[in-house]
């Protein structure tokens, strides 16, 4: 089912989606916010540029964006999957607590800010390109993987970028981050530990990388066969006495 949403505002877009069962393609999307917010059990493909907070509170639906997405993709999502073939804006996966986000291109600032995990709920975000500053800020759980595969042209448009910008993992106190780099040029805060990933670490993310590669058509072994850095918080309370004597 195809729906042209070019003349609809965000409420009407979501009303249209609620009327559908199963697969639906939105065409002519241009800036409508909150698309598919809280939705479960359906497949949605988006042509055009969805607005901020795409898939907020997502509860199981599967969203594919053919181009770029804006800010706060998957804000507080609980379950489901968001696949973006282009780049995403700032604060992707803000406080997400379940489900997966796959981005072929680059992410803006603060990707994975305050991701969290609970029991069987483990949110996952895989960024194919590079990320802006404050990646995984206040990360409390879940898994963030950054592959740094972005093509030369994309890198040229933004100057020669490292795989992440400044101040990654600021305030991180849970979860894991995997960077496909030796991270020699990246400064981490002292409250986290960054070390070369071992085989056991890589086994943890192989399934996610396989999913990324099957979505975007690249070779798993080639992507896995590189040095990875794994980052985890230092202890259970690395911020003791940062603000108060506790």
């Amino acid at each position: 089912m195809k729906v042209d949403v070019s003349s609809l505002d965000f409420r009407e877009v979501n009303d249209k989606l609620r009327e559908q069962d199963g697969e639906c393609t939105l065409t002519g999307c241009l800036g409508q916010r909150f698309i598919a917010a809280g939705m479960a059990n359906r497949e949605i493909t988006i042509e055009g540029t969805p607005g901020n907070a795409l898939g907020a509170y997502l509860n199981g639906a599967d969203i594919t964006v053919c181009g770029n997405a804006q800010d706060a993709v998957g804000d507080t999502m609980n379950a489901g999957r968001i696949v973006v073939h282009g780049n995403i804006g700032d604060a992707a996966g803000y406080a997400m607590r379940g489900g997966k986000i796959f981005v072929r291109g680059n992410a803006g600032y603060r990707a994975g800010i305050h991701m969290k995990a609970y029991k069987e709920k483990i949110p996952v975000m895989v960024i194919g390109g590079s990320c802006g500053s404050f990646l995984g800020e206040y990360q409390a759980g879940g898994v963030i993987v950054v592959l740094g595969l972005s093509d030369e042209k994309a890198a040229g448009a933004q100057g020669s970028r490292r795989i992440v910008g400044n101040f990654p993992c600021t305030g991180m106190h849970g979860g894991k981050m995997f960077l496909r780099t030796d991270a020699k040029d990246i400064a981490f805060p002292w409250q986290v530990t960054a070390r070369p990933a071992e085989e056991a670490d890589l086994a943890e993310i192989r399934g996610y990388v396989e999913e990324y590669c099957s979505l975007f058509g690249c070779d798993v072994d080639e992507v896995m066969n590189a040095s990875y850095t794994v980052v985890t918080p230092d202890s259970r309370n690395p911020y003791k006495q940062l603000y108060v004597a506790n």
Binding site: N52, G89, F134
Partner: protein, 366 residues
């Protein structure tokens, strides 16, 4: 809150900004920039919208175009008499507007094309721009009921209480042609939302549209008011405008240097610089102008004669996207706004926090 104006109350911002410029100096009507604000409608709340157009007054390009709000006819008469004491006024007229139901309670809106009298400048030993800037400050501070909201050459700002797309129609921007346009949709959080408080904020040919809310307002204000600027409206964008005028026009800094003052990198980032000259310069700028560091969220577009500069705060607490197509460069809070102006836009990217994007029109084309 009815009847309150900027400066009389402070309410403890999401906004929208957009801009387009032709590097070749090709003229565009205001239609495209008005359209760009539509997908970002929900970023504003109807309490302010505005635009700045550059290259729109070619027939009066050697005269300062003063745009003024007046509360009544007597104020206008008094202000005109005051202007005529020190300016040659070659033309004064109502700014043409369109009556639409979305825009109400408009003040009296006039524009004057003026040039300071040479004898006055000689007596005061001031250059032309400084004298115009001081005159703007004097009217806005001392003349109750009169407010200059645009004072550059061959440019003009147009602002009102309302949603930006309605404000553009109200001012008939489809009838103007410029090589550069900036736009703003307002969601005021600190002040009640009066016509003068809408963006862009301007002084001479500098105009600023701003999304965000800076936390250094009072520190910045105290410093800048030592140099003759008067922040009358308690809005943070006004102080950013005066800071940029001070750094660029008065202190003679380059655009990049000014960006490095207001969105200075962290000391740790400066420490990590490998280029010794750059490192020393950044240290110098932070040391000389510590009170002009602007903290808190902002994304701004500064328009000036022949170009624009887009800049995010160093933590990048607001969004900003840039795109290109042929001779044009587009900037907006959201990619969707750029795609309205140019569906086939190329090289879409998001500048890093504190990284200025400077676009200039080729020499002789504006």
């Amino acid at each position: 809150m009815a009847g309150l104006r900027e400066g009389e109350v402070r309410i403890p911002s999401g906004c929208a900004i957009a801009a387009v410029i032709s590097r070749e100096g090709k003229k565009m009507t205001g239609e495209s920039i008005m359209e760009s604000m539509k997908p970002m409608h929900d970023r504003s709340n109807g309490l302010g919208g505005g635009f700045a157009g550059y290259g729109i007054y070619p027939e009066y390009k050697d005269y300062y175009a003063l745009h003024l709000f007046f509360d009544c006819r007597d104020t206008r008469k008094a202000c005109e008499a005051f202007l005529k004491e020190s300016f040659e006024v070659v033309k004064g007229e109502l700014i043409p507007t369109r009556k639409i139901p979305e825009i109400t309670d408009e003040p009296i809106i006039w524009r004057y094309f003026v040039t300071p009298l040479p004898s006055v400048l000689r007596d005061l030993q001031l250059d032309e721009k400084e004298f115009v800037a001081r005159t703007v400050m004097k009217i806005n501070t001392e003349m109750t009921g009169a407010y200059v909201f645009s004072s550059g050459k061959n440019m003009g700002t147009f602002k009102a209480v309302g949603f930006p797309e309605d404000v553009g129609r109200f001012y008939r921007l489809d009838e103007y042609e410029g090589y550069c346009w900036t736009a703003h949709g307002r969601y005021p959080t600190n002040t009640p939302g009066w016509w003068g408080g809408a963006h862009p904020f301007t002084l001479l040919d500098y105009s600023v549209v701003h999304n965000g809310e800076i936390s250094s307002y009072d520190a910045n204000r105290r410093f800048i008011e030592m140099f003759g600027y008067k922040c009358n409206l308690q809005t943070d964008t006004e102080v950013i405008t005066y800071i940029l005028d001070y750094l660029l026009r008065v202190q003679g800094l380059t655009l990049t240097e000014a960006a490095n003052v207001i969105a200075a990198p962290f000391w740790s980032t400066i420490e990590g610089k490998t280029d010794a000259y750059e490192k020393q310069k950044l240290q110098f700028l932070r040391t000389v102008y510590p009170s002009l560091l602007v903290t808190g969220p902002f994304s701004i577009v500064l328009g000036f004669d022949g170009g624009l500069m887009a800049l995010n705060d160093r933590l990048k607490l607001r969004s900003m996207v840039v795109g290109e197509k042929d001779d044009k460069v587009f900037i907006a809070s959201e990619e969707a706004a750029i795609r309205v102006m140019e569906p086939n836009v190329e090289n879409i990217w998001a500048p890093a926090g504190g990284e200025p994007v400077i676009v200039t029109v080729k020499e002789g084309a504006y």
